[in-house]
Structures are given as C-alpha cells and as structure tokens.
C-alpha cells in the first residue's frame, strides 16, 4: 500500500526497520529529483492538487489526519454562488481521487518530520491505528448497528450521536469504518464488549492494530491542512452554549443538509420547533483586534447570505431572515449579484450593526438590541441566531509548520511569500487553501492547482518516473446479444427517497422490457456502490446499465468509469435524473414525483436498449502551448509551463510585455512591482522554451484540444495543443465626478503614477472615492481590489506626506483576509473613512476655491464639505468586451453577463473551460489583485499540464454520423455547426463529420431536412423510443 522506502513499525515503544527498498525506489534514484509529492490534508485543496499531479505524471501521497478524505466540504449544505449541493459536486472528485492509481491515500495519518532538500525530501508519516482494515471493510455498517457506545457526532457538529465505531459520512472514501479508541469499551476493558467483532462478516476489525511510521521519498510537499472554525464560546456576550438557540454557522449547515441530523428539516435543535425568524451575526471571531483575530475571514458574508437564502427555501412558511454585519464583503465572482438577489428578490434583511449581545427571550427566542446607523435603537426577538464563525489555523498544522521551520504570519497562518501565490519560505514546500489565509472554495481550488503547477515545474525532470498507467479489462462484445439491462435507483440519502417511493420505482423497473436486475442504492455514487454495480454487471451478465439518480453533468463520467472497469463499453449506459428534475422540484407532491420517476426510468430503459458501443477517437497530442496575453498572468503561466518542459508561444498585442502591471508601482504588501515585473520579463526572454510574439493579436483559430492552429494578425500560424487565455482587463474610464473635466480628478492608477513621480509630495487634501463604475446597474459586480488598493494608496500618501488629510469615501470596505490589517493601519494613521450609500453619492463640484466634495457622514448624519487638491477615483476593472467576444467565438468558450470569461464551474473548476484544452487566468477571469492573478496563472499551468502530459488526445466519440444516401449536400449543417466540425464534401456530395471536433451537440441533426444526420448515443430512434415509452 505504501510506496516508500522503509516501513517502520512501532512495537513496545521501540522502532525497527522491517522492510527493504522496493523496486520503484531504484528507478527514481537514477534521476536527480523524486517524481512524487506529499500532499498534506485531503480537503478539496488536497484532492484537487493530488488529481492534478497524478494526472500530470507524478505519484502522490495524500496524507489526511481524519479517517476519510473530503475535509469540510462534505459537511456543507449548498455552496455559493451557484447553490450547488456541496457533497454532490465533491463526490465525483472523491471517487476519482480514491480510486486513482497514482494517489496513495493515507488516512488517520500525519506528517511528523521532514528532512532533505527541494526535489528530494524524506517524509516521516505516522499512521494511527484505525482498528478496521480498509481493504477488508465493505462499509456495510453492521458493526455500527451493534456498537453500544454513543458519542457526539463531530461531523454533525455534535447535533446528533454516532457510535464508537463509525464512518465520517455516508459517501466517505475510504468507505471503511474506524474505531474511536477513546470511546470504545474494549479499549477500556478487553473483555467488555466486542460486539462489532461478531457483527463484522468481513473480519476487518482488529483491536490489536498498531500505529505505523512510514518514511516516504518525495520531491515536494504541499501543505493544505485546512482550518478550524473559531470557538464561539470565547465571546461570552453572544451566549453560545448558554443561550439556547444560539448556534454556529457550521451547525446551521448541518441543520440545512439533507444528510444532517434533521434530514434537512429546518428546526432549532433545542426544541425541534420550526423557526420563523432567524438572525445571522457576522464577524464572530473575525475583525476583532481584542482577541488577536484582527483579520477578516473572507467567506462568512457569502456563506451567511447563502444560508439565509437556502433557509428561506427550506421553510414552509415565510421565513424572516436578517444578517447583522459591518461591511458586506461580496467581492468574488458573481457574489455581488447573489447579494443583490438575496436583498431584492429573496427579501433577506441586512442590518448594519455589530451586535452587542444576545440574551434569552420568551419561549426560547433570542433578543437583540441593536443600533441603526443614525444611532436609533431597535429591539427584536428571533427564534434562532446563527453565529457566523470565522476561520483560524489548525493547531496541529501550526505546530508542524514551526517544527519544519515554515514561517507563519502574526495570526499563525502560513501566508504565502509575496507575489508567489503559494510559496512558503522553503523551496519545494508549498501552501494552499485556508492554511495560507481564510479563503473560499474556488480560491482554495485555484491555489491547489497552482501548488501542483509549481511542484510540477520543480520536479519536471522526474515526471512519469513513479506513476503507473491504468488498464481496463478487454471490452465485452455485446453485438447481437439479447438486451440485459440492470437498473440502479439511488436514494441519494433522503434527497430522492424523501420524496420518491424508491422501492416502488425499483419494483416497477423490474417489469420493464429487457430489465434483468432492478435494485436500489442509498448513495449510488459511493465507492461501495460502484463496486457493487461492477459485481452485478458480471453476476447478471448485464449489457446495459441505467442509473436513476442525479445529474449526468456531475456524475455520468464516474458511472461510465465503473462500466469500463467491468469491461462494458461506457456508452451502454443511461443516467436519468430523478433528483434535480424530479424529487427536488416536486417535493410537495410525492406521489406524482414517484410516477414521474417511473416514467423517467422507463424512458431510460427504452433508450439504453438501443444504445450501441461508441469507440473513442484517439488523436496525436501537440505538446506546445499558446498563451494569449503577456501581462503578469500570461507570463507567469508561460514561465511555469516552460519550466515544466513545454514549448510555449506567448502572444502580446502591445509592443511590450507587462500588461496593466506596467502601471503599478506599489504592491499591496509593499512589493516593488516594477522591479518584479522587469525580473519576470527578463526570465521570459531568457527562457529557451518560450517564444514571444509582441504586437500581435489572434486573427483566426482552427482545431481543438491537442491540435490547435492559431493564426496571428501578421499571418503567422502557431500549432499548439493547449490554449491559455490571459488577456487581462482594463481600467474603467469614469463618466462621473468631473473626471475628464477637472484635471485634478484622476483614476487610482493615474494617481499612483503621480505619487511615484513625487507629484503628490506637497498635497494637503486627497479624496479617494470607491465603487466608481462598479456595483451599479450597468456593472453590478464588485471590482474587488479597489478598497485595498485605495487604502494602500492612502497609506503611501501618508508615508510621503504625513500631514496630508486623506479621505476614503466608500460603500463597504472590502479588505478581506489579511488586507484588513491595512484598513486598521490606515485608520490608525489618520485616514478618514466616510461611508456613503448608493442613493446618496458624494457630490464633486468645481467651486471658487477649487474642488469640493460633499458627502454625508455615516455616523453624524450631517453633510461634510471637503475642499480637496486631488480626487482619486477607484474606477472599475472592465473587460475588453470586443476582444473577449472575439476569443470567445474562436475558442468556443463562454463569457458571463459582465463579459469576463466564464469558467467550467464557478466553484470547482475556476481556471478550466468546458471546452477541453482551453484555460484562463488573471483579469480575463474577473477582478483580482496581482498576488491572486499570479496564483491563478500557476493554477492554469497546473491544470494545463494534466492535458499536456497525455501522449494522445482521446475524444469521447459521441459524434454526428451522416447517412450519405439521405444527404442532399445542402450545407445547412455546415452553416449551423458551432464547432466547425461538419463540411460538405463537394466530390462525395455529402456532409462529412470531423469526429475530433464534433461535440455531439446535435445542432446539425435537428436542422437536417433530410433526416440524414444522427448523433451517436442519442439517435432519432432512441429519442422516439423514449417518447413512445410514455
């Protein structure tokens, strides 16, 4: 199981070496660097980094302290801003990670020591005894039923009980139980119990199991141990643990969750009554200098809005929700719209006040006395109050970091070194996720891929030295066989079974034509279920499989993998969605939902009967890269991929490299941006693997992943396998506040240049106005970096001229994470912050004495007149619309409403497009600061490597097929095909499909007047069979 050098077993407190070097070790000793990486922590960051590395040719040891991988995500209900079910989007990754040939998952394990140097580390990993052998355990749960010891279930935040032998959560990988040694009776008295031993048919339980220490050779280490939630009981004024019905946000997640202690029924835990009024208290353990949590936890504003919105959806009556906050920090992509919708459409109330105390009211209610901004006092009672607890580093991680000599910041977070995104002070040791600072899932995933990218660049010479390839059993030839369909109906916990009568659907399916097996699964996506499906295929000689569960978008590839592992062509499969399209939308009509589920299953059974094997198309892979955009993001990306050994073509439309960073002087942490930029450009120019094209734009694009041909404006053609879009964004040209009319009114970037040139060294008054062109009806998004940027600018002015008065007029200060410290520093240095509201914006006027700004002070409620020398407008970051639209068409990648590029999934695929082989990073994705762009650029490199590492490109093969006899060569299909995959062959007088390009969208098929075109896996015949089944 363990791929390392030595396995040392601790016996009676003594250590001794018992095994010798294995074969693999010899192989990698011949290279200078080790082609494996130790990933510490198996939350979403660890899983993502492991998958990226393993797919790119590196062996991964994934070390996780708990008994299962997954981290915090499995415990969350829905995720913002897409409202996707957290477990549902994570589950496929859990399975992929769990069964990946090149990922060694080590649960109940911790890194205890690390020696060596970048490229060659020896890691000592201690694996605590689990007392259940995961290789034998089937996850059946008989043991837990027999276990007499009930303990608080940590996974459910103590809201329910679990047993001393337990599995962390239903879909856990490994799908194996573990024994809580401190609670198990048998550890207290060997004769005491042993019921689990009797119950376990698989003989997987062993109370004698011992801790193990293994030494692993790895080339790099990525630290992503995650975070702890702030202990709310430390703030006694919020009464957590004393006032009933004051709960934490994590508890609330479990209450909302369908897999939670109340099955998703929104009740308060103290008396199980349905609340009618819920309040959220923000900044519990964040933005609190008094208890050394001066930073902002970055995620709480969004998760609270999400909880309020989802709670409203869960509630049968009109639920009143109120969020008490100081600054609403919805700074991420699509967040501001989510906030606006919550406020305007869903009726979530937002109250700007930091709540002083929570006291017990009548009937378990919680009383809040709060102050509005005008100073008036309100009294309200809520049925339940949720404390939005902040994030803090895990104690064990802090200890480990200190032991390894990893530098931590004042809050004990392992903040990345400036302008690296993910580097620690030690080369070869990277950090990602919340341990590097509070951050949300997309940024965590981004950093994880970035760390993977950086590790790949370090270890490129050892790529592929330690990995193995997956082999599937030979495909069964089903041609001519009688249809033998197996139907698996998923409960999805209660997501489906809570509404749909699953046993009824199972029985119904048994009678359908061709069905030889029909059964149910609690979670069809769990590891044990896929094993059972494989066995069923063999046992019942199934040649068609139908799973009735959730969305093909998230789960189809996983089930198809199961078919492949069982020797069946993956297209002899049909996934029908009886959750999103049935149980969720018809939750009030269980009987009708059951009937609908039956119909859906019936249609799928009829369709699958006509399914034919589809063979993938394999094409050669071009391993070169095209990076579009020579700003910091594009250059960072190019450099990383070049270091990984790939040939990179870097195209920049200007004559010079550098992009918008050429206008930056001061980094947010005081970095010398110009110095950094020159060094980066220098590295690009020196790198033999990078070819730079300046003064060029993209004129035309042909091809697809592995085989792109891009034509530049000067006619040069570049052949490449992967495209990275890093085209950046621009500064909005303000129409407001006398910009362009009075020369003293400037944008922040203009002001920055003047500061750098010393032009503001004698200034007396400067006013900086926030949200210019952002958060308005035209551009409803937040430009994210302006608050921090303005504060940094204000501090710079104060540094150069301490007596200058600097005013920042803002709507919400959004200095998330450690940038909050800059906000604190600015206040301490005398920068005056005045909040204005959208309906009462500052007024800028030319007056006799100069330039006057009038703004109403948010506390005193009176207008303040500021006569100022300079005005800096924090103007929005806007995408280059035409350019983006052009590239969007060329590479068939979408833009969002704001005309930034839209990733494949906002949560889990932040740098990918659904179009394979195309990635993005930097400001083309949306507003971000330099640090974040660098991280994202590395992430895009990490992700691109997963494609570049393949020898061949495999296209699914579900393409359109032309019946030449029927085709009239009219050319309609050619005009309509968005993928440029179909052309009329003049000689043959028929349309011809390029299978590699065809996406199987069906546009040609449905527009063909002759009925000559069909799509493999979705033929007219199949559609008709589905319809006639009804």
């Amino acid at each position: 199981m363990v791929h390392g050098l030595w396995s040392i077993r601790i016996e009676m407190g003594q250590t001794r070496s018992i095994t010798t070097k294995n074969e693999r070790t010899v192989v990698h000793m011949s290279t200078k660097r080790t082609g494996s990486v130790l990933v510490l922590g198996a939350g979403i960051a660890g899983i993502q980094a492991s998958l990226d590395l393993a797919e790119s040719g590196y062996y991964v040891h994934l070390v996780e302290s708990s008994p299962a991988i997954g981290g915090v995500m499995p415990a969350l209900d829905k995720t913002f801003p897409t409202n996707d079910c957290s477990m549902c989007i994570l589950s496929p990754k859990l399975v992929d990670c769990g069964r990946h040939l090149n990922i060694n998952v080590m649960t109940t394990s911790e890194l205890i020591d690390l020696e060596g140097e970048p490229g060659n580390y020896k890691a000592k990993v201690k694996t605590r005894a689990r007392y259940v052998d995961p290789a034998k355990c089937t996850g059946c749960g008989s043991c837990t039923e027999e276990c007499p010891v009930k303990v608080d279930d940590d996974f459910n935040q103590g809201l329910s009980k679990r047993k001393a032998i337990y599995k962390q959560y239903a879909q856990a990988y490994p799908n194996a139980y573990a024994i809580d040694k401190n609670k198990c009776l048998k550890f207290k008295n060997a004769k005491a119990c042993g019921k689990c031993l009797k119950a376990c048919q698989a003989e997987a339980i062993n109370h004698e199991m011992e801790d193990e220490i293994n030494e692993l050779e790895v080339g790099a280490v990525i630290l992503m141990p995650g975070f702890d939630a702030y202990d709310a009981s430390k703030l006694d004024y919020y009464g957590y643990g004393k006032v009933p019905n004051v709960i934490t946000s994590l508890e609330f997640e479990r209450i909302l969750s369908a897999s939670g202690p109340f099955g998703g029924h929104l009740i308060r835990p103290s008396d199980e009554k349905e609340p009618k009024k819920i309040a959220w208290i923000q900044c519990v353990g964040s933005r609190n200098c008094k208890n050394d949590h001066g930073y902002c936890s970055s995620v709480c504003c969004m998760y609270s809005i999400k909880e309020a919105v989802i709670a409203k959806e869960h509630s049968e009556h009109d639920l009143d929700t109120a969020i008490f906050y100081m600054d609403m920090r919805t700074y991420g992509k699509e967040f501001e719209k989510y906030y606006n919708r919550a406020q305007e459409e869903q009726g979530v109330r937002f109250v700007r006040n930091r709540v002083y105390e929570l006291t017990e009211g009548e009937d378990g209610s919680v009383k809040i006395r709060y102050a509005l901004e005008d100073g008036s006092i309100q009294y309200e009672e809520f049925d339940m109050v949720v404390l939005s607890v902040g994030l803090e580093p895990k104690g064990e991680a802090v200890e480990l970091a200190k032991k390894l000599g990893i530098e931590l910041n004042q809050y004990n977070f392992c903040e990345a070194k400036p302008l690296t995104g993910i580097n620690t002070n030690k080369e070869g040791i990277y950090v990602a996720g919340a341990f590097s600072g509070p951050r949300d899932i997309p940024e965590t995933v981004m950093q994880a891929s970035a760390a993977a990218g950086e590790a790949q660049a370090l270890l490129s010479e050892a790529k592929g030295t330690l990995t193995k390839a997956k082999e599937y059993p030979a495909e069964t030839d089903v041609a001519g066989e009688i249809i033998r369909t197996g139907v698996f109906v998923c409960h999805c916990g209660i997501n489906i079974a809570g509404v749909v009568d699953v046993p009824n659907v199972v029985d119904y399916a048994k009678e359908l034509p061709g069905v030889v097996l029909s059964t149910n699964k609690i979670y069809a996506c769990s590891q044990d279920s896929s094993g059972q499906i494989k066995e069923a295929i063999k046992e019942h000689n199934l040649n068609r499989v139908v799973v009735a569960s959730c969305s093909p978008r998230t789960h189809e590839p996983m089930f198809q993998e199961t078919l492949k592992e069982a020797g069946l062509n993956p297209h002899l499969f049909e996934l029908t969605n009886i959750r999103d399209q049935c149980s969720w939308v018809h939750m009030d009509e269980p009987e009708k939902a059951t009937e609908k589920a039956k119909d859906l299953v019936k249609m799928a059974v009829n369709k699958v009967a006509l399914a034919k094997p589809v063979q993938p198309v394999k094409l050669d892979m071009n391993h070169d890269v095209l990076v579009i955009g020579g700003g910091v993001s594009g250059m960072t990306n190019a450099l990383n991929l070049a270091e990984q050994g790939y040939q990179v073509n870097l195209v920049e439309k200007e004559q010079q490299l550098g992009g918008i960073a050429r206008r930056l002087h001061y980094g947010l942490k005081g970095e010398d941006v110009q110095g950094y930029l020159n060094q980066l450009i220098n590295q690009i120019e020196q790198n033999n693997n990078i070819k730079v094209y300046t003064g060029q734009e993209i004129a035309d694009v042909n091809g697809f992943v592995g085989n792109f041909t891009t034509t530049l404006t000067d006619g040069q053609q570049i052949e490449h396998g992967v495209t990275v879009i890093a085209t950046g964004s621009q500064e909005y040209q303000p129409q407001e506040y006398l910009y362009g009319e009075n020369h003293r009114v400037k944008t922040l970037l203009e002001l920055e240049t003047e500061i750098a040139d010393g032009q503001l060294d004698k200034v007396n008054n400067v006013v900086l106005i926030q949200c210019v062109g952002s958060r308005d009806s035209e551009r409803p998004y937040c430009s994210r970096i302006c608050c921090t940027k303005s504060i940094k600018t204000a501090l710079k002015i104060k540094e150069r001229r301490p007596e200058a008065k600097v005013y920042i007029l803002y709507r919400d200060i959004r200095t998330y994470g450690f940038y909050e410290d800059l906000y604190t520093e600015a206040r301490q240095k005398g920068v005056i912050f005045i909040r204005y509201s959208e309906d009462n914006k500052p007024v800028v006027e030319n007056v006799e004495d100069g330039l006057r700004v009038t703004v109403t002070d948010h506390v005193l409620g009176e207008p303040v007149e500021i006569y100022t020398d300079e005005i800096g407008l924090a103007s929005a970051i806007v995408p280059p619309v035409e350019n983006n639209q052009k590239l969007s068409k060329f590479y068939k990648v979408p833009l969002n409403e704001d005309k930034f590029f839209l990733e494949a999934h906002l949560k889990l695929r932040p740098v990918d497009f659904s179009t394979e082989g195309v990635f993005m990073c930097g400001l083309s994705h949306g507003p971000k600061n330099l640090e974040e762009n660098i991280s994202q650029a590395k992430a895009a490199a990490g992700r691109a490597a997963t494609v570049l590492a393949k020898d061949q490109i495999t296209v699914e093969g579900k393409s359109a097929v032309v019946d030449k006899k029927k085709c009239s060569a009219c050319g309609t299909c050619e005009q309509i095909c968005p993928a440029k995959a179909i052309k009329v062959d003049e000689e043959e007088q028929a349309a011809v499909v390029n299978e590699a390009l065809c996406k199987g969208c069906g546009a040609c098929s449905s527009s063909c007047r002759c009925g000559a075109i069909n799509v493999k896996g979705c033929t007219d015949e199949q559609i008709m069979a589905m319809l006639s089944a009804l």
């Binding site: 100073g375 005013y807 206040r827 009176e862 006569y867």
Partner: protein
C-alpha cells in the same frame, strides 16, 4: 449646516490618543456595538457613544469639548467592555472631562477640592470622626456585652487596613456599626486609620489626575504606615475603583493587595468564620452590580456568593455581572444636579430590571449607586422597595453564637 472638513483637526485626535494610549480610539470601525451596548443611548438625546467617538476620531475639537455626552456618560464602560477594537469610552470621557481644561458642572470640583483639603469628601472634621467612632464603640460595647470592645485605630501589622466612604461617618454610622460588628464576629485583625480614612475620590469622574492622586495617594500611604497586609475598601464602587486605579497606575510604593470588603465577606462565609442563617432575610431580593466594582474591576462572584448565602429568595437580575446596567448615576452624576432629568430617565431602565425580577429588596453594594436607587425608589415605587447595602443584610443573618464558637476554633488553629 454642513461640516467643513478643513476644521477636522488631526492634532486633537492625536492629543486624545496620546493620553489614552492603552485604548487606541483610532481603530474604531464605527460598527455601533457601543451604541447598542449603552442601554442609555436611547433614553435621552446626546448619549450615543459612537457619535462622541466619531467626533474625536474626526478631530472635531470644539464639538467634542461642547458635547453634552461628556457629562451625560456615566462612564460605566458597558458600551465598550467588549469593544473588538479595544476602545474604552469611559476612559475617553474621563480624559476629555479632565484634561482639556473644561469647567466641571455642578459641585464636582467643590467636592474634589474639599476632599483634598479635609481628607474626606464630606468635609468631616477629625473631631467629628473621632466622636462618631467613640459613639459607635460605646454602642457596640453595650450591644456585644463586651466592655473591653475597642475599634482598632492605627493598629500596626493588622491583616487589613479598612478604607471607608465618608458618608458612613456622616450619614450612615449605623451601617458602619454593622460592618464593625461583622468584623468583630468574624474575629479578624484590622485597623482603621486616624488620619486618612476616606477611600473615595471624585477626581475619578472629574478626570484631573493631579487631583486624583492627591486624594488617593494618602490612603495607600496609610496602609504602608500601618504595616497592614492589605487595603480593604468598603461597599463603594468608585472608592474601590479609585484605590485600585491609583495603585495600578501611579503607586510606586510597596506591593499589597487591594480588595473589596465583599470579597472578604465571601471568604469568611466560605471558611466558616461567619455563620449565617438566610431565613431571616426572606423577601425576594435582588442585587445590583456597581460598574466600578464589577465590570471595571472584575469582582463578579463575591457579592453574589454572599447574597445567595444570606437571602432565602435571591433573584439575580438580567443581565447581570459584566453586562449589568449602570444605576444611571455613574460618572459623578450625583454631583451634577443640573442633569438630574437625564439621570432619573436612566433610572427607569434600572427600575425595569428590578420589576422584571420581582424583587422587594435590592442590595446595592455601593454608596453612589445607593443614592440613585433611593431616587428610583422615590420616582417609580413610592418608596415601597427596600434599598440596602449588603452589610446590614449580612449582619442581620449572622448566627452570632456559632460565629463565636468558630472564632474560638480559628484562634486555636492559629495558635497551633
């Protein structure tokens, strides 16, 4: 009228900040937690701590110095005791009051001056002091049937030096009698001072540190002169706070503990020196938490423990301890009669707390608060409530014979 930002004077903010370095006001997030925390911010106008703080942060010198808030604030510290930025409004109020040359309203300065001259805030002469103690001593000799009973004055090496509130000499000698009786029954070693016996200090509220130290230093000096092991202060919040503050911030002499007499009462009940019978105090009784004793100096449990042991029907008011409401007369409000209207309005909120708990007796371990509670009694209850200090209730509950027996035991123990 718009505010002209040109008048924002950063030197003013800096001046204030430099005077209250421990509590950096510039960190203020204008979050409003203080406005919500001050239970009196909606009782009458000009009582919003956030607005006051904002003016300081903006450097609005004139507006701050002329802000009625400066005098309305009771300096109870409830608003900012949990301020996440660690700001302290009470300290700010005190600083503005005393360190910017503001004339003090009412008779606050008069009391301060008299305390400096006479050594006590009631301007009691040394003769009257001596006479009162003699009279108490005689009374007690009779009551205790102990002709040898003496009030220890200037006795060196006692376990504690007892500091009083001058009101106990001038207006409440019967209460002082009860306290001395408790000391007698507990069999403890203590002394009074003949020279500096009043522990109170109104400069705690006037904010003038020069005056403040002139008043408090002598009582600390007395503890040293009398070689007492500690200084114990009577049931008076501001006296206790003044001595603690003087000791913590200005005292350079030898170290010794400063405790409230309530803490000693609790210890004596715990160790059996005092045996009590709670059935004698049977009416529903609640307890006020004086800000200067409780919130500001962290004495949360001692007075509560005493009350639970001496009252049959003790009902804690809500909120209590750290979060209890100020009586409404903190910050020297009683010395500013021109603001009586505001003070009485605040008292209503206190009365609501008493009503909510249904108490007939209110124990108030503070002389300053006591006067406010008397006014509350007059205004809202037609004098029907019983407002008392803790000592008389304790004295009432003493089981004298058993105390005496235990006293004998303790004596034996110490001799062993």
């Amino acid at each position: 009228m718009a505010i002209n930002a040109a008048k924002f004077d950063p030197t003013f903010t800096e001046e204030v900040t430099n005077k209250v370095k421990k509590f950096d006001l510039t960190k203020c997030l204008t979050c409003g937690m203080c406005t919500a925390g001050c239970v009196y911010s909606d009782v009458h106008p000009d009582n919003d701590p956030r607005k006051f703080l904002r003016k300081i942060a903006l450097g609005m010198r004139d507006e701050v110095l002329n802000d009625p808030f400066v005098w309305f604030c009771t300096m109870c510290e409830r608003c900012t005791v949990e301020c996440p930025m660690g700001i302290n409004i009470a300290v700010l109020t005190r600083t503005i009051r005393g360190q910017f040359g503001l004339p003090l309203p009412g008779f606050m300065q008069k009391v301060v001056d008299e305390t400096i001259t006479s050594g006590n805030q009631m301007d009691v002469s040394q003769e009257d002091y001596k006479d009162t103690l003699d009279w108490i001593e005689e009374d007690l000799q009779e009551e205790l049937e102990d002709p040898n009973f003496k009030i220890p004055i200037d006795v060196e090496n006692a376990d504690f030096h007892f500091g009083m509130n001058a009101r106990e000499i001038k207006y409440y000698p019967h209460e002082l009698t009860e306290i001395i009786k408790i000391f007698y029954h507990a069999g403890v070693s203590y002394t009074l001072s003949s020279k500096k016996w009043d522990a109170t200090n109104l400069a705690l509220f006037s904010g003038n540190n020069h005056d403040f130290w002139k008043i408090t230093k002598p009582i600390l000096d007395e503890t040293v002169r009398l070689k007492s092991k500690e200084l114990v202060v009577t049931e008076c919040g501001h006296a206790f706070k003044s001595v603690r503050m003087g000791y913590k911030e200005f005292w350079k002499g030898p170290e010794f503990p400063v405790r409230s007499v309530l803490e000693l009462y609790a210890d004596w009940i715990k160790d059996g020196r005092l045996v009590v019978d709670k059935s004698v105090n049977s009416k529903p009784t609640t307890l006020h938490d004086p800000c200067n004793l409780v919130r500001k100096e962290g004495v949360y449990e001692a007075h509560r423990y005493v009350m639970e042991n001496i009252c049959e029907d003790f009902r804690d008011m809500a909120p209590n301890k750290k979060y209890n409401y100020c009586c409404g007369a903190g910050g020297g409000a009683l010395a500013m009669p021109e603001f009586k209207e505001q003070r009485v309005k605040k008292g209503k909120r206190k009365a609501e707390q008493i009503d909510a708990v249904g108490a007939e007796v209110v124990a108030i371990p503070c002389h300053n608060c006591m006067d406010q509670f008397m006014d509350i009694n007059k205004e809202f209850y037609g004098m029907k409530k019983d407002m008392t200090h803790v000592s008389p209730l304790l004295s009432e509950a003493l089981v004298v014979e058993e105390c005496a027996r235990n006293k004998g035991k303790k004596k034996e123990e110490s001799e062993e």
